[in-house]
Symmetry: C2
Subunit: 404 residues, 2 copies
């Protein structure tokens, strides 16, 4: 299970939990490992079994260890329970149950077909690994990533409002890679007005990446008709021009709206007021902070007022080595530094996550958490909501110089 | 020379330059290395020769490589030139000249006594290694270290002014170790009034460290008679109660005054206004930034207005692995992160630093920079200036809970 947990940590945070799996020999030796690489890619079990198949491993006397209960969801690629049965693995050990409406029942299905299933091994570690993902599911909202690019002294712009570029090319590259993994990018009205960002995911040459998220602006003021965010990327054949105006100041309302549009993972990119709104509601599950070795001494702070009056009430975070290029929560990126953090508090009540299934050999029981894993295959397409969620594709000139 | 440069980087920044030395065999093999560990400890050459002596190495056909011209200063332990002659090393290669009034002439003295002396090897690297130290010497002022303990978002205190403790015990321990290495600690009137710090160097148990710096407050307002900074540490036998009130807002004036008191290395500890004053004048040679994984959203910023209007005018820094515990410019310290930085700009004109001596074999000529290295032995005692520079020792109760 430790190998599986380590493998899980190679995944990325977002719409899906990070999950790892290992195939053990009869003597307990780790033969193969696998992990889930994010929405739209094979689940960890399937990844590990694929490795075993490619190596020609005889699975008849092996054990499959997985950090989350195998799903029982029939999506594009079929349930993991089915894949396990098909592979002929006789024993399955998992850490925590999957209480999903759609996915649950994997353990029960396997047991019904004669697989020896045990649960609860290192359950606490496995729960902790995805604590904020479980919480987001519980709250029936998208997973929220906050990204900040700031100076050493916590400024995201200089006194005159300029912010291009606080961080260097490598950090910006990480930011664009992150954009390409989420379902939506959200900014506030201040960022809209000061930066007029296009909010597109681009490569090093400024060209659009294949996957473009929904572009959301959260403001109670109008979004100008000529705002770049309405247009999106410039090559019509490579984007879908998706844009949504979230006419609210309430992060809960914004997230509910985005969820209705099929968004499972949203990237909040600024500015200080929007960041503070999400942070104050404890709605940030993951924080990417790129920090450049520069001092500004004035200009917009990275985070607005959080309502924190005294030092003991500070919002506390901890390093998260999951889903970053070099497995280091804090690491240099070019000349800058990247922090990858998650909240140090606010984890859900661990015991409530896999009651029943944590008793070795017990059948998986229905869970009260509406957790769900997106099945393998493309993520749900945002834009299925209200008509104003869709913008219009344009063929305007390349605007790479204009976005944050 | 590369070995010597690497050894030099093990030293600490401050009153003296970092210097490394290596003893090479006739075939060029590195037999021993040495480095200078800070004011009051043996110079690098002496350190390397001591290692050779302890190992019983025959020095008759060796070469001593050193990153800075051996000093010719007769202090408590005699000049390095004398130590080299006494050891009988026939060849010396150094990188950059020492243009000090007191120390210069080492190369010439060695040559006069028949030693084969060459200069200029990797001179640029050696100059860069101590660029800010050379600059401070040139400006005839103490070396200035700025230390900041801040939140992720660049706050040094919460909205209500509380700041104990933003960073954890390990980071505070590094701060106290730093205090014990400097000649003076300086804070501004704001920090004095909000924190009433004692500005003493303490160990993990709160007890005073052996070496206590001069305590300086830079403010044009009066320093209350009962301010802790006037009292210093609490065990009379272990401290000297030194305090100075610098009645100015001008960092140049404050530094001149401190220099007059025998201070070669000053630690600026805050607050934002004082930090900004020194930064704006490009008077910070070294920056220690401890950053805790917390967000505050409000409260005093770490650095006040620097007069920087736009992003391209940002004050740029670079990682400095010299003189930090694990040779990493950015490293975790407990739950916090430590940045060790030096200015990315503002290095002096390198060519002016060792004119003459950079010509291999040329005699060291008088230099125009009044650089000086503190001779081995205790650093000059601050407090030899005006009478008000000396406070009064007290026996008040332990005040470890009251200082930043």
């Amino acid at each position: 299970m430790r190998s599986a947990l380590r493998a899980a940590a190679r995944g990325v945070r977002g719409a899906n939990p990070v999950v790892g799996a290992a195939v053990l020999s009869a003597s307990g030796e780790v033969l193969h490992v696998g992990h889930h690489r994010g929405a739209g890619t094979p689940h960890a079990e399937v990844d590990a079994l694929r490795a075993a198949r490619e190596a020609g491993t005889d699975l008849r006397d092996t054990t499959l260890v997985v950090t989350l209960e195998p799903c029982h969801h029939t999506g594009r690629t079929g349930p993991c329970s089915g894949a396990i049965l098909e592979a002929g693995v006789p024993r399955v050990v998992y850490a925590v149950g999957d209480g999903t409406d759609t996915a649950r029942g994997g353990a029960a299905a396997l047991m019904e077909r004669g697989v020896d299933v045990r649960a609860g091994l290192l359950a606490e570690d496995a729960r902790d690994l995805n604590a904020r993902w479980f919480r987001a599911q519980e709250q029936q909202r998208p997973f929220v990533t906050l990204k900040i690019a700031q100076s050493l002294d916590g400024r995201v712009a200089a006194a005159d409002g300029t912010s291009r570029w606080i961080t260097g090319e490598a950090a910006r590259g990480e930011g664009h890679a992150l954009r390409s993994r989420v379902d939506a990018i959200l900014v506030g009205g201040g960022t809209l007005r000061s930066d007029d960002p296009s909010l597109t995911a681009r490569d090093a040459t400024g060209g659009p990446l294949t996957r473009q998220p929904l572009r959301a602006v959260m403001t109670t003021r109008p979004v100008p008709a000529d705002a770049r965010v309405r247009r999106g990327v410039v090559r019509a054949e490579e984007h879908d021009g998706r844009f949504v105006h979230l006419d609210t100041h309430d992060p809960h309302e914004a997230l509910a709206r985005l969820r209705g549009l099929g968004v499972s993972h949203v990237l909040v990119e600024g500015g200080p007021t929007v960041a503070a709104a999400f942070l104050s509601c404890d709605l940030v599950d993951e924080l990417w902070l790129h920090q450049a070795p520069v001092l500004l001494g004035a200009g917009a702070p990275s985070v607005g007022d959080l309502g924190i009056g005294t030092i003991t009430a500070a919002s506390r975070w901890r390093g998260d080595p999951v889903g970053v290029p070099d497995d280091r929560a804090v690491a240099p990126v070019g000349e800058d530094l990247r922090w990858h953090l998650r909240p140090a508090r606010g984890t859900p009540d661990a015991d409530s996550l896999d009651a029943g299934a944590s008793r070795p050999g017990a059948p998986a029981t229905p869970q009260r958490h509406p957790a769900s894993r997106t099945p393998a295959g493309p993520a749900p397409t945002p834009g299925s909501g209200p008509a104003d969620a869709r913008g219009t594709a344009t063929n305007s000139p390349d605007d790479t110089s204009s976005a944050p």
